[in-house]
Symmetry: D2
Subunit: 349 residues, 4 copies
Amino acid sequence: MNFASDNTAGISPEIFAAIAAASTGTAMPYGGDPLTARVEARCAEIFEHAVAVFPVATGTAANALALASLMPPWGVVYCHESAHILGDECGAPEFFGGGTRITGIAGADGKLAAAALADALGQRGTHGVHHMQAAAVSITQASEAGRVYTAAEIAAIAAVARGNGLALHMDGSRFANALVALDCAPADITWRAGVDVLCLGATKNGAACAEAVIFFDPAKAADFVFRRKRGGHLLSKMRFISAQLDAYLADDLWLRNARHANRMAARLAAGLTALPGVRLRYPVEANEVFVDLPERVSDGLLAAGFEFYPRGEAGDRFVRLVTAFSTLEAEVDEFIAAAGALAAGRTAR
Amino acid sequence: MNFASDNTAGISPEIFAAIAAASTGTAMPYGGDPLTARVEARCAEIFEHAVAVFPVATGTAANALALASLMPPWGVVYCHESAHILGDECGAPEFFGGGTRITGIAGADGKLAAAALADALGQRGTHGVHHMQAAAVSITQASEAGRVYTAAEIAAIAAVARGNGLALHMDGSRFANALVALDCAPADITWRAGVDVLCLGATKNGAACAEAVIFFDPAKAADFVFRRKRGGHLLSKMRFISAQLDAYLADDLWLRNARHANRMAARLAAGLTALPGVRLRYPVEANEVFVDLPERVSDGLLAAGFEFYPRGEAGDRFVRLVTAFSTLEAEVDEFIAAAGALAAGRTAR
Amino acid sequence: MNFASDNTAGISPEIFAAIAAASTGTAMPYGGDPLTARVEARCAEIFEHAVAVFPVATGTAANALALASLMPPWGVVYCHESAHILGDECGAPEFFGGGTRITGIAGADGKLAAAALADALGQRGTHGVHHMQAAAVSITQASEAGRVYTAAEIAAIAAVARGNGLALHMDGSRFANALVALDCAPADITWRAGVDVLCLGATKNGAACAEAVIFFDPAKAADFVFRRKRGGHLLSKMRFISAQLDAYLADDLWLRNARHANRMAARLAAGLTALPGVRLRYPVEANEVFVDLPERVSDGLLAAGFEFYPRGEAGDRFVRLVTAFSTLEAEVDEFIAAAGALAAGRTAR
Amino acid sequence: MNFASDNTAGISPEIFAAIAAASTGTAMPYGGDPLTARVEARCAEIFEHAVAVFPVATGTAANALALASLMPPWGVVYCHESAHILGDECGAPEFFGGGTRITGIAGADGKLAAAALADALGQRGTHGVHHMQAAAVSITQASEAGRVYTAAEIAAIAAVARGNGLALHMDGSRFANALVALDCAPADITWRAGVDVLCLGATKNGAACAEAVIFFDPAKAADFVFRRKRGGHLLSKMRFISAQLDAYLADDLWLRNARHANRMAARLAAGLTALPGVRLRYPVEANEVFVDLPERVSDGLLAAGFEFYPRGEAGDRFVRLVTAFSTLEAEVDEFIAAAGALAAGRTAR
């Protein structure tokens, strides 16, 4: 039973069916197929805006390519200090950008606050050509602490970004989970709030390997095709990525999967926090539960074969538990029960 | 009916079944799954050598990452002037290498000749630090003209490379097609002949998106994991790439698919060359047919909906026709019949 | 009268004489001249160690090239948060390194503390390939706050670096000023303390444009010549850079110039701190004085034509005053007198 | 006696005097000095056009920075196959451009012909995103064979460039030598003929280390300052580069120096071609003489201590002889006399 990450899950059946449907016959390569066109059309409809959409196979590729298209090589992107682009992509943004820089800013709940951003930008000084130049802001929806940015929070960040001439990028690897948590329109937390480019994740929410880079100003996407090809991220049989995205966005699958995952996280959080010595680090809004477990509980669960990542702090165990579209209620309950048994001094199962 | 490329085909049923089998349950991400380990084991067995194997989703990524690991940023890789790395990857090798250079060398049949390589290397002069430094040689198996390199030809190239301190890379996007054409052991045309790194293609031969970078000296692969991650080419749900490669290499599927595609190419070539005014540009050894068609035939076939790429030369039409694992005999025959009808002054169908 | 920086000064007469001597006749280009060889020999003697020495024209080039030779593209260099490489080189290290990263660490006196470095390295976690990899440490001698690192402090930092497998780089743009402040052997605060590569500045201490990258392990410098040429930093008439360095290192000129500049800074600090409302930010050890001046004094001095950089903070003025080999005692005294007059409510002059 | 290159010469007395004049007193750094401003004003006057001018210390830096500012990372620059940017800069353009490509085109006299350029561009095909994109053309004035491009030839190349949407760069490391050979206005062979950016050399014609990147459309130079700083090519004591350029352009010094060097080359060519068995490879227009010498003559001259670069071909010796502003008539005559003696079967001197 795996709560290590939502990327340990398999493929959502509807997405799998789309791959199956695309697997026979022929189609023109490199995105010249009807499915790829349909993904763009779906995004335009869902986001209620003209868009340029580029499917890629990984979130790191999506983020790095998107950021490179928003910044000169001497640009700096500001983000929360826990951002995936800063800590988990082995410097992909720096590489794709030609030697750009990422500046992390502290903030509660894994979220960049508009005021903190303004403060950081204000401290840049006026050192001209000697400084790398502020060029973009990146926020992660949901954040690396499982919190969501409201439309108002995004708009406040966008206002600071615009006021400093910076583009706004959203790493939306868990965008759907945030969206259903907020229960708003996709447009409300993207272009309407000032987001320029969204990296829309599907992999963590039911796809095998599919992300979409969405430009809300298609005119700014002119160079993207070269960056993608040159990065080795233009798949020849693109239809197999597009098929995933097409199914993901059809019939609200992305929302249904996200709602399920969020519900499982809420259930998990509720069950665990009822146990003695268990403390939530952050309110659970999306599909991640950050929780301190008593050492005996954490160690016992791992020993019993439950999979999750301890965060490596001493004493009480700080762990991250992630639910997915495929997480079963029974699995959640079994985990809670095992934790409860351990908390009560018994064995896990 | 599509002879434009082998990347217009779908997914080989056995490979699709492997994706299906992997699509449920959970697995550790980023290659920490059993399928990825099994792919490496299969490669070691098939190639009869210790290997380090890295699955990626595109051939361009495979080539660019492999070359970057063989060269300093001021390195030059020598290849045939028609090589995919030179003309079809939008500078991916230069980008991943940090500003490396690719030098194309003319040669018959899309093949680099050992003597031509030696000649090019001999002309470099001794200009020291002012010159970029020769660092690697890359050959494409099968070549961009559909010809195959024999073990002896590869060994001759490798000898020149070694003699000049250069690494030898093989772009094997159609490696299986060449292998069955040569009817030899995989080792014979790779490490035994002096190849250091093979980019083994599967996408063109039945996979959806799966290539494997194979180092025959695992010690030289130490940095590869960082390059791959940093390039955005480490898939989180890696098992869906590995599942494809695993099925591809199991039960000789790769060889069976390649044999079929090669047979279809041979059948197509035989049928077309029997027509008046049709001339083969190169002997057909793998799964590509390069042929001059009378203008009326070429134009008529395109008008009738047959898909293939004209090569853009005036007068008689020079076209490339590619067969795949999924090409049907009936399709080949229909194409030949239509060409025959057009050659005889009738309509295509 | 210019206290803005030591780079506003001209050329030390002895260095100018060396340029003059080299200006006639011919010499082989690109460092194939006797002066360049003599610079390396002088460094070997002065530093009491085998060295590989590479003259370049700017400190930014020296630092960026040196760091690039110590790190892979996915490497991280740790330094003090005020380091020139982080805040004043427009990303040159990231550019030359191929997308590396610089992590600034807070610390008193512009100095990186060994304990803070160990702490930062300890927090890296063990996230493997997802993380950029710690690769190097850089310290600035004298620091950006005008303080010097003692041999013991450097050794402590080097011990942490070594323990983590990291190389140690020293930005020595004001190395001579630190050296005479410490009154020790050059070796004591470089290789003997664990420094791998020193960027020895001369420009700020009397040269027109001359810095030397000094590797204490010549074997590690093999690639440097390619990086330098490729960076456009191999001067054809190299002898005019080498002549500067040669004179700089001859007859203790570098030490004499630095002693003079340091004395002028001490005199300036002594004079200013005797005035009411003036406060030193850091003890003055080298040739920089960081001081808070009453607003009326600061503004009055600027209005009177004295040149220096206000640091941009509100209320009382925080300014940096830098002395050089060419600063006259009379200039220092005039500055102090003017500040005194302003502090006493009179005009500057 | 050194005919190896014009970069073996020293400093022109007028330029040296300018360095001397700048060597005392203070000036604001990084180009904030009056001399740097004056260089730009001089260029505007001399070239009869608004310009943005950026002094740098090496020709490789000038070329690489200029080209990077004209091309995206996936751009291709076309030039003659003997161009310095292709064969003598260790990949600096590729590095500064972020992985660009240089395509060399064959042509007589080291010169790119408009027709050959058009032909090469015509063969690019229409392969879209898979291809690197043609972005710029670079020509070298005077060429690497010592020939000059006429205004008409440049205009023809510019027309092809413009017709294909490409920028035109001129490597003018020997621009002055070409200019006086053509006896026209600087504007005639630059912006009036369609050149976008000129890298104006001074080092080979009397400076110590000074080149100027000149944009004829200052609006296109906005990013240049960041590229230059980031490349480590913004000198702190910039006035010492600018002083060289200022003197170079004052009172026609650049033209006088170039005329002298050209005269010496003509004298050398005339003297040598009068000898038996000596053959000019190219007409001598600027300050380079490419000549085949009998082996006995070539070897004898080298043995006698005359310095020049043999080009490495067997049998008769193909050598390059370069004259400079400082070459003495007596040196030329001595060389000719020595060659004549050797040709006549005697010793060199």
